[in-house]
């Protein structure tokens, strides 16, 4: 179980409690947090679940694998702390995670 905070582009905060194993993407969808489309349903194939990881959490959230890197790399709004949220499974380690949502998904 972990508490995750999503911050929309306009600053609106959403705090949600998430079971371990759920992806950060699904945590947003299940709790009706707007701003994530997840068109491929979590297959790392659409890049519409893009989030920015708060600087304190970048290391704990891990780094993208090759497939995720390929998808992220094509996004004009990509930043060093960009991740595809369907590729981050929630663990106890991530209790307190803060992510910011981009203005647009591509």
């Amino acid at each position: 179980m972990a508490k995750i905070t999503f911050i929309e582009h306009n600053g609106t905060k959403h705090e949600v409690d998430v079971d371990n194993g759920t992806s950060v993407m699904n945590a947003a969808i299940d709790n009706l947090v707007p701003g994530i489309d997840a068109d491929c349903g979590g297959q790392c194939s659409c890049a519409t679940c893009h989030v920015y990881i708060d600087s304190d959490w970048v290391a704990k959230a891990g780094s993208p694998d090759d497939q995720e890197e390929s998808m992220l790399d094509l996004n004009p709004e990509r930043q060093p702390n960009s991740r595809l949220s369907c590729q981050i499974p929630v663990t106890d380690e991530l209790d307190g995670l803060v992510v910011t949502l981009p203005e647009f998904q591509f």
Binding site: D39, C40, S45, M71, L74
Partner: protein, 425 residues
């Protein structure tokens, strides 16, 4: 060899209307007449249930695999290391001496470099700027339509709107805009088919070269001019693309990619949406009662229409998909049009439901690194169009059976007559 071989096309079995009257291994679902007659649906239904990864030995363009289930398509599309987009994303291989180079048919790393230069023009930030122009143009088109008499919706609305959109993206001389439509049609036609709009490959090339010359002129006018936010200026001034004009087949390829990518697809979604609502009056009622459903309906229209029926890949190595071994070098068609009707993934997949949950989860834009670059633009155009239609008309009534396009790649309509019924004041 002493024996003279008859041309293959004479031996090939023309697919009949009923898929169950053909032995499974003889099915050649890529034959365009199936799509023109609307018989393809039954063929895909049979393939999904009996041979979801199916080999056709004797296709018009040689042997090929058909992948017809949603999950298998998603796997092939996302596995860009196993499946190459070169040399072509249609079953026909390119003409050796006239090969248009476009990033949709390139692998990494070149694909990524070129896509990144072109993508900002259709990125959401730029679209926000374009939205008011698009809405104005939509309104002008809708306000000029005849009321109470029948006309061809494809020509007056679908083609006109997408063409104006492209002209906007390219900052193309507005009065010449129908040239874009023509080039798009020429680029996708197959001169070997009887229904082709050009008489020969030579004629096709001549028209495409005219296209290249036209855009060459625009390029030179804009190169060095710095900040234009149209596509030509971006390519002409982009670090990785500024020499592209010296590689005519690459320049032409990318133009054709944008013209075709943004043209047929959106055009046929515009027509398809009207048709779908006419065939499903209860859905039209839902729309009238609740226009807030429009964004969701737009995704459903794009799924239901699936404007590009398939994309082709070529296997880089032997690999297994759906229990079948695909050999290195084999052609693979990912039939989005079939995956979008896969009941194992999409509930009530054969129905058109404008309030469908998870409507965005469809295959029409593809997946993986080649996923449609213009998807947000397409959605925006359709959203604005429907907002403005609902504002004006109570009913866009389809009054004939539309004529479908003779192609297994572009899934759409050549003609559809409608009559407009204005909203009562």
């Amino acid at each position: 060899m002493s024996e003279v071989r008859e041309p293959q096309s004479d031996e090939r079995l023309q697919m009949p209307s009923d898929p169950y009257s053909v032995p499974l291994d003889k099915i050649d679902v890529a034959q365009p007449h199936l799509f023109a007659n609307g018989d393809h649906w039954k063929y895909f239904e049979r393939l999904r249930s009996e041979a979801p990864v199916h080999y056709c030995e004797d296709g018009f363009e040689g042997p090929y695999w058909s992948v017809t289930k949603y999950d298998d398509i998603c796997h092939v599309d996302s596995s860009h290391n196993l499946f190459s987009s070169e040399p072509a994303i249609v079953l026909a291989d390119p003409e050796e001496d006239f090969e248009l180079e476009m990033f949709i048919a390139m692998d990494q790393p070149k694909h990524d470099v070129q896509r990144k230069t072109a993508s900002p023009v259709v990125a959401p930030q730029n679209l926000k700027v374009l939205e008011s122009t698009i809405r104005e143009r939509v309104c002008t088109i809708l306000d000029s339509l005849p009321v109470g008499e029948s006309f061809n919706w494809v020509d007056r609305v679908s083609i006109e709107l997408t063409t104006q959109m492209l002209a906007t993206l390219f900052d193309f001389p507005f009065e010449d805009r129908r040239k874009l439509t023509r080039w798009s049609d020429v680029a996708t036609t197959d001169p070997e088919q009887d229904q082709s709009i050009v008489a020969s490959e030579e004629e096709r090339r001549a028209e495409l070269i005219e296209c290249l010359e036209y855009f060459g002129k625009l390029w030179h006018e804009r190169a060095g001019n710095g900040g234009g936010s149209d596509l030509i200026s971006m390519l002409a001034n982009g670090e990785s693309t500024k020499d592209m004009v010296n590689k005519p087949l690459e320049y032409l390829g990318n133009l054709v990619l944008l013209i075709v990518g943004g043209n047929d697809t959106t055009r046929n979604s515009i027509t398809g949406g009207v048709l779908a609502l006419n065939q499903n009056p209860a859905e039209y009622d839902k729309l009238r009662a609740n226009p807030a459903l429009i964004p969701n309906m737009v995704s459903e229209i794009i799924r239901w229409q699936t404007p590009l029926a398939y994309m082709r890949r070529t296997a880089n190595e032997d690999t297994i998909v759906g229990g079948q071994t695909i050999k290195a070098g084999d052609k693979v068609a990912m039939w989005y049009i079939s995956g979008n009707r896969d009941e194992d993934v999409i509930e009530r997949a054969n129905e058109f439901l404008i309030d469908r949950p998870k409507a965005r989860q469809h295959l029409s834009f593809g997946f993986g690194i080649h996923r449609c670059m213009g998807n947000r633009l397409a959605e925006m155009q359709l959203r604005i169009l429907w907002e403005e239609i609902v504002n004006r008309f109570d009913f866009v009534e389809v009054v004939n059976e539309p004529t479908r396009i003779f192609s297994s790649f572009v899934h759409g309509y050549a003609e559809m007559q409608v009559v407009l019924h204005p909203k009562k004041a």
